[in-house]
């Protein structure tokens, strides 16, 4: 729905003026990419692919391998996703389909409040509440469970699990709010057709979920992108120990955490460049994940014209 106004000479300065200000944000993104690339040059030249294949990180000996950080970032984000996805979709379904009308606004506000709490507050809560809880939980586990590699290791509290839990809490509001919007975009005819055939509440919702699946995958990826880049809260609870371990109770490290911890104390130019290179890769990964999620959400939300509808008569919008 666009009003067309005839191009007026008086509008040209307005158009070019605002347009050139808009260039700032484009320049900022291009600038970030360029700066990261050029600042990481030393490390890229010297280590090449080797950087991403070795796991020794020893700034004093000028030996840098980034495997533990990549591992920690991916592992923590994936575990966080496994925890947060069912919860986020449950929230989205409840708020879009099943929630009593009066409860909706306050519930939306409360869940979105989770997204507004600063990361440092999560971290503080993590250090003093979550980490001790994880430690107690590990001690409470029976011995035969702790013999499984996934749960092995001394009970220190700061761990992959603590990081994943805190990340999961942090990304739930992002995933659920996008998933809710995607579910809202499902045409009413889908659910109404299901009800007309005698479907139960869940069966109708399942049809809506199926219709919205692309967008929901996009919402999950959006949460994934957030989790990958999250810094402070993770740095405070993951234990900052560069090792590749399956154990959820082992202290590990992530890409953003190593940058946060070592950047201002880098011992030499190569150390600094190695950290920037990690930042560059983090930037590229989050860029791809966010781009992918946006494409999926966009595909879901755009009006479908070519797709034929299963029912000839469209239900009037209620």
């Amino acid at each position: 729905m666009k009003t067309r106004v005839r191009l007026n000479a008086a509008d040209l300065p307005f158009r070019f003026g605002t347009g050139s200000v808009a260039l700032v944000v484009v320049a900022a993104v291009a600038g970030i990419a360029y700066v990261l690339w050029s600042e990481a040059a030393l490390s890229i030249q010297r280590f090449g692919w080797h950087f991403w294949q070795t796991s020794v990180w020893d700034p004093v000996q000028d030996e840098f391998g980034a495997v533990p950080f990549i591992w920690g970032t991916l592992y923590s984000s994936i575990v966080a996703l496994l925890i947060s996805t069912p919860v986020a979709i449950g929230i989205a379904v409840f708020l879009s389909d099943w929630c009593p009308h009066r409860l909706r606004t306050p519930l939306v506000f409360l869940t979105e409040l989770l997204a507004a709490i600063p990361s440092i507050v999560y971290g503080l809560w993590g250090i003093f509440v979550l980490v001790p809880a994880v430690r107690d939980f590990q001690i409470w586990l029976p011995d035969w469970v702790r013999a499984i590699p996934l749960f092995s290791g001394p009970p220190v509290g700061v761990s992959m699990l603590a990081a994943a839990v805190i990340l999961a809490i942090m990304i739930v509001p992002f995933t659920s709010s996008v998933a809710r919007e995607v579910l809202k975009a499902v045409p009413a005819s889908q659910r109404e057709a299901a009800y007309a055939l005698g479907a139960t509440r869940w069966e109708a919702t399942r049809i809506a979920l199926r219709y919205a699946r692309t967008g929901i995958v996009g919402a999950i990826m959006l949460g994934f992108g957030r989790a990958l880049g999250e810094t402070m809260a993770v740095t405070m609870v993951i234990g900052n120990n560069a090792q590749v371990k399956w154990s959820l109770f082992a202290p590990q490290y992530t890409m953003s955490a190593v940058i946060a911890n070592e950047f201002t104390e880098a011992v030499g130019p190569i150390h600094l460049d190695a950290l920037v290179e990690i930042g560059l890769v983090l930037f590229v990964i989050t860029l791809l994940v966010n781009f992918g999620s946006r494409v999926l959400i966009w595909q879901m939300n755009r009006p479908r014209k070519r797709r034929s509808r299963p029912m000839p008569a469209r239900a009037e919008a209620a």
């Binding site: 158009r15 003026g17 484009v26 869940t111 507004a116 440092i120 507050v121 509440v129 810094t231």
Partner: protein, 284 residues
């Protein structure tokens, strides 16, 4: 009713309760975090927290006055850059939404929004800290400005689009040019909403820590000089949280409480304002 239908109904209500459970699963952390932050922070919050700089280690007392002032200064600096640029960009996006250039700008804004804050820290470090070889409050403000930019662009564009078409058409009917229609009619109508959106963006960036760590660093002393390292509430909370001292932990909680209260007030404000605007859009 046969067995199969009973099973279908049972499954449906099971799913319903699972979704209720997931809402609770999200609300419990909100409740717990607020409970701990208020419970532990309120005891440490006193007048000297707002009026004194930190005392040396071992000396009980002191506050975060320097960090509060530092945060305010850097957020204002960032806002001074991001608000004009962001609002004008938002205007461009809502006015020329169909053009290719607008899609590029929107894509850039979305991308910037997704860039991890720590990466923005590196970017500003290379741009503003490395050439002068020292950390500065100015660099910190710039980093916060970059963080705010996409939020402000987004909120401006969305709110401008919520302004009823009839208002705009009225302006055109009176012979207004596009710029006249925007500045005299559309923008004023959306202004309350944009303003609260901007406040919300400021509150969110005030809670950022990572982009300040390599730009403004931190400062244990009073300093309002923008070319020196500058304290901020968030970095101070971080420093205190990972320290081994109980008194510092108490103050970290107090700092967190201040941050949460700021965010909470701004969120409520934004909620209220957008609802008013939505009502206006519906009542066209």
């Amino acid at each position: 009713m046969n067995l199969r239908d009973m099973r279908r109904r049972a499954l449906s209500s099971l799913m319903f309760w699972l979704s209720v459970a997931s809402v609770l699963a999200a609300l419990i952390p909100v409740g717990m975090i607020l409970f701990f932050v208020v419970g532990k922070g309120i005891g440490a919050l006193n007048l000297s927290f707002f009026t004194h700089a930190p005392t040396p280690v071992g000396e009980v007392g002191g506050g975060m006055a320097n960090a509060i002032v530092g945060s305010l200064m850097m957020v204002s600096l960032g806002a001074g850059f991001a608000i004009p640029v962001g609002v004008v960009t938002g205007i461009y996006l809502s006015e020329y939404q169909g053009t290719k250039y607008a899609s590029l700008v929107r894509f850039a804004a979305d991308t910037l929004n997704g860039v991890p804050s720590i990466v923005i820290g590196i970017f500003v470090y290379a741009l503003l800290v490395l050439p002068v070889k020292h950390f500065s409050g100015f660099a910190g403000g710039a980093a916060l400005g970059v963080m705010m930019l996409p939020l402000i662009i987004r909120t401006t564009e969305e709110l401008l689009r919520m302004v009823p078409m009839a208002l705009r058409e009225g302006a055109y009917a009176l012979g207004a040019t596009r710029s006249r229609a925007v500045f005299s009619v559309v923008l004023p109508a959306a202004l309350p909403g944009i303003l609260t959106g901007v406040i919300l963006a400021l509150a969110r960036t005030a809670g950022e820590t990572a982009p300040l760590m390599f730009t403004a660093l931190n400062n244990q002393f009073w300093s309002t000089s923008l070319d020196q390292p500058m304290a901020s509430l968030t970095v101070q909370v971080y420093t205190y949280a990972i320290s081994p001292y109980d008194d510092w932990h108490r103050q970290a909680w107090a700092g967190a409480l201040v941050l949460v209260v700021i965010v909470l007030i701004c969120s409520l404000l934004a909620r209220f304002a957008t609802r008013r605007l939505e009502r206006m859009a519906v009542g066209r």
